[in-house]
Symmetry: C2
Subunit: 257 residues, 2 copies
């Protein structure tokens, strides 16, 4: 089976202006890797119709799944829905089930025209549940349209995750040592050449006066990862440093260990 | 004068795997806005030659300036330099001044082949200083190739910032009120229609049981921003909430105020 792939399209002037630091890329990257659907590309575009449509069409032709975040709220700058519809060449309509959900959600008299905008979906789209604030996302073709607010986006994603057809989960091991990246580089390149079935990344750190390197070995076969990791560990020892297994820890932990 | 524009190409498996949360987008977005060079698009691609070249060629044709981060270290997975050279159709060579700098930087015997890789640059490129760890970035055409490690990237950027030709700085004001986004949306859309020279964004928050909305007004003319802000403030008051001016504060501050 070919490994499925994913791309993310972040719609958001607030990211491009520097107002907000994106939190959705990392969440989706980690969750998708665990599902065996590696995230291959991210694009962040402005709230501009042509930019959204062009990026969406490029990504949905190239990857198994495309996720979008942002631009599905009630305001004038929320334009993701009509853009997705135009990318697919379909119209926009109020989705009856979405209208029912928002009618239940808001107190009487509070479901105004702006909020009704959140019931609009491309024709043929199916709803994605929003257990936080009711207004749904939607799915059309291989595109999943999610909210931009992180806790809402995450809840929406967990609702659709069981519907995604994943490949073999991407596993990893991380070995960290207080050795400069450039001293490890030659040996690590040789390990990579001998182990083509894994992907080896090298990440230096300089924090609080300490420096070192974390070598991350990623792949879908545990045995292949462990074999490469054993060679990386031997390389670190040959350079006089004891490797620490920091698998599953954050980069900050690695630097502080 | 037409406003110059910028794009950012993040080269990094570590972002796409979820290992690392990107910090460079927000820094560059904010600094470029202050220089009057709005960031219009970001792409995050894997350490894959074709992906890097294709994205770089798309971006450099479309925006005034393109910045890349990541992939210029000493290891086998650092491939940004040859990719940029291929995108420009030029060769790669060891840059003599870069060799001098690394020779000065490392203790005798420590400048190995892997580290010498960091002296390679596309033909015709000029160096970008690295005051942190010596290994330079470089500039070629409208492309600026920077390190991925945030403190090194930031130091490199500050070194080239005086060379960038900016437009009018992008200014903003932020007004926050404890009103649901959907109740403000209709009125804010009208303010946007009356003030086409500014860009109005609406950002809801739900934190610690409190909810509300921040309205951000961005533009290059202070008077135009203030005129739109006055109307937004009046709108908030008409809905029974006193607006707070949260200009320059973080989104977290707005939600907690």
């Amino acid at each position: 089976m070919t490994q499925p792939t994913a791309a993310l399209l972040v719609v958001g002037n607030e990211i491009l202006s520097g107002r907000t630091r994106d939190a959705n890329v990392q969440f989706l990257a980690a969750r998708l890797a665990a599902l065996g659907i590696p995230l291959r590309e991210v694009r962040i575009v402005a709230d501009v119709e042509e930019a959204i449509i062009e990026a969406l069409n490029a990504l949905r032709a190239r990857y198994t799944y495309v996720f979008t975040t942002g631009g599905i709220g009630p305001t004038h700058d929320d334009i993701t829905v009509p853009c997705v519809a135009r990318a697919f060449g379909v119209g926009v309509r109020r989705h009856p089930e979405a209208v029912r959900r928002l009618t239940r959600h808001y107190p009487p008299g509070q479901l105004n025209e702006a909020r009704l905008k959140m019931t609009e979906a491309p024709e043929g789209a199916t709803l994605i549940d929003n257990p936080v604030s009711a207004a749904p996302g939607f799915a059309i073709g291989n595109v999943f349209v999610l909210a931009g607010v992180p806790n809402i986006m995450q809840a929406m994603f967990e609702g659709i995750a069981p519907r995604l057809v994943g490949g073999r989960p991407v596993l990893s091991r991380t070995l960290t040592a207080g050795i400069g990246e450039g001293l490890l580089a030659g040996g690590v390149a040789e390990v990579q050449r001998r182990h083509a079935g894994v992907e080896i990344g090298s990440y230096p750190y300089f924090q609080m006066g300490r420096y070192g390197t974390s070598i991350v070995i990623r792949g879908t076969e545990r045995a292949a990862i462990d074999a490469a990791a054993a060679e990386v560990a031997a390389l670190m020892r040959s350079l006089g440093a004891e490797p620490r297994d920091m698998t599953g820890r954050s980069p900050e932990d690695e630097a502080e260990a």
